[in-house]
Amino acid sequence: MLCTVYHLGLIAYSDAYHLQRQLLCQRVNNEITDTLLLLEHPPTITIGKSGKLENVLASQAQLAEAGVSLFFVDRGGDVTYHCPGQLVAYPIIDLRQRGRDVHQYLRELEEVIIRTLNDFSIDACRDRSHAGVWVKGREIAAIGLRVSKWVSMHGFALNVNTDLEQFSLINLCGFSDRKATSISALLSQDVSMEAVTEKLLAHFSEVFDLQMECGSGILMRSWV
């Protein structure tokens, strides 16, 4: 089965969201193949449906001054932070073809990330009570999903060269004692996004048994 990959570069959260909704519709109608969007966001805090504003530790003025955006999002999970240096992946996958098992899907996404990190000699693990990928008690990848008509959207964010200081703006995932980490922090050196992306794509293909094909530009019909 085919999966079309789009590298979107730096794209605003709201733009990526509208694109995902469009693609989800098309995937539900079988007009397109499974799709994977790879991108980065400008500094953005997102709050899931069950997320609380108390977990945003800065005031509106402080965020505006720092150039950080804030969106409420219809995904699972609490508060998270996105910024350049973080590899964001939004798979639009038809779960009707995968046994309609959303838990299995979540575990598979975690698996893709864990295997990718292994390639960089980072030993990462899951926390059964809390979706995401952790290294020594710190979160290196956050996951939040939404499944509509059995097609997934949103996905995960893997900290590659992320500025971890900025995470102090929030209580990560709603916990005041959880901290974030990144590949470059753990290895004490910068790692290129391209290198991580390459490994990620290979593991994504393996775990989901999909043939990855690069899409040229953004495929979509006109959208408002």
Partner: protein, 413 residues
């Protein structure tokens, strides 16, 4: 019989799920296939669709953690049945467990002095309605000034932001910039709809093998037909346009030429059962193609009303994703834009296999029975994907279209 809504199993896990949101109120009508309930587990939000149409009776409220298999609601088929279930005390299959909200952080034994309290960080305040609206329209909260008490963001603040978003036009004025010997007058960044159109058009051409058949149609009979329909505007309840007629004609033809109503996806040609015709609509910012679903099952009047409503919504920026997806064929009536007698090439709207463009209707001198006469002539441009069907099929399709429009009596039956 009322139909139960059960907490579903979303895979191998047997962990309870959180009932996050009912999408309809108690007693409200719900339609089969529409999302009626949202549940959450781990970090996944999952939509649950109504299995039947009817009226919703809620048994378990929002915010509760519920084991799989619990009956959380019921859809009554009729209002009478709804009244019955609302009175009944249905015994729950398993008692729903209520999950306590996480305990508030312990307050230190010594109360902090009032001065310190006053220095507590300013939180972002937003009403639940405003939050929901902001989420719906993806509004960046940091750009909103709250006009409610204490700077609280309220519904009106979000509504205003939504309006502003629609009106926004990106145009960067650059100080005299010179690019390869040419002075820049202005720079328009390729974003939003403009970027999408650019990408889509380019991709369409690079992916498919597009060729265009062009010709003319004698519109004498169509003009008469349309005039007669326009004179019946009141009785019909709508003013029939040429675009409406083209959609109607195309829908009939696509039934006879199913290969034209298809898509090449993943190395397979999917011949579509539905005939969903997109109507290319010019907007100030560009172009959008709302779709008339199942056009072959609609009468001319129904098509006309649908097209009118879609074009109106397009101009107001109110089209839903459902209204701009699922097309199997597109019509672009360029004649509506004026400009006289001409031929154009038109681009296929992926992943369709063909598009029909029509020009303006102009009086031309033509030969009939050895005589030169004046007839209202319309040019057409039919672009097709040669990977899906050949020029011979394209020519036959347009020959049938021409025949039907020059002798429209079969349309009136």
């Amino acid at each position: 019989m009322a139909v139960q809504i059960l907490m579903p199993k979303l895979g191998m896990s047997t962990a309870p799920l959180t009932l996050v949101e009912w999408k309809a109120k108690e007693g409200a009508p719900v339609e089969k296939g529409n999302v009626v309930l949202v549940v959450e587990t781990e970090k996944i939000r999952h939509d649950i669709e109504a299995e039947v149409s009817g009226f919703l009776h809620i048994l378990v409220k929002e915010g509760q953690e519920v084991p799989i298999g619990t009956v959380v609601g019921v859809i009554a088929k009729t209002k009478e049945e709804l009244a019955v279930v609302q009175k009944e005390k249905l015994k729950e299959a398993v008692a729903a467990k209520v999950k306590e909200a996480p305990p508030e952080e312990a307050v230190p034994a010594e109360a902090a002095p009032p001065a310190a309290e006053a220095k507590a960080r300013e939180r972002i305040l937003i009403s639940p309605v405003a939050r929901k609206l902001a989420e719906e329209h993806m509004i960046d909260i940091t750009k909103i000034t709250g006009t409610g008490p204490g700077g609280r963001i309220v519904r009106e603040d979000i509504e205003k932001a939504v309006e502003v978003k629609k009106v926004e036009v990106e145009k960067k004025e650059v100080a005299p910039e010179v690019y390869q010997g040419r002075r820049v007058k202005s720079t328009i960044s390729l974003k939003g709809m403009r970027k999408v159109i650019a990408e889509h058009m380019h991709r369409s051409l690079s992916v498919s093998a597009q060729l265009t058949v062009m010709g003319e149609i004698d519109m004498t009979e169509m003009v008469k037909l349309r005039q007669s329909l326009v004179s019946q505007e009141e009785a019909l309840g709508t003013r029939i346009t040429y675009t409406d007629l083209f959609v109607f004609v195309a829908a009939k033809l696509l039934r006879e030429y199913p290969i034209v109503n298809s898509s090449l996806i993943d190395n397979e040609i999917k011949v579509w059962e539905n005939i969903n015709i997109g109507v290319a609509t010019a907007l100030e910012e560009g172009l959008i193609v709302p779709v008339v679903k199942d056009a072959d099952k609609k009468s001319l009047v129904e098509i006309s009303k649908t097209v009118r409503s879609l074009v109106q919504k397009a101009r107001e920026g109110k089209l839903t994703p459902d209204e701009i997806t699922g097309g199997t064929f597109t019509i672009t009536n360029l004649g509506a834009l004026g400009g006289g007698y001409r031929f154009e090439t038109v681009i296929i709207n992926q992943p369709e296999s063909a598009i029909l463009g029509t020009g303006g209707i102009t009086d031309r001198a033509v030969v009939r029975d050895g005589q030169i006469v004046i007839r209202p002539i319309m040019t057409y441009y039919f672009t097709y994907d040669h990977r899906v069907f050949t020029g011979a099929v394209a020519a036959q399709f347009m020959a049938s279209a021409t025949q039907l429009m020059e002798n429209p009596s079969p349309l009136l039956s």
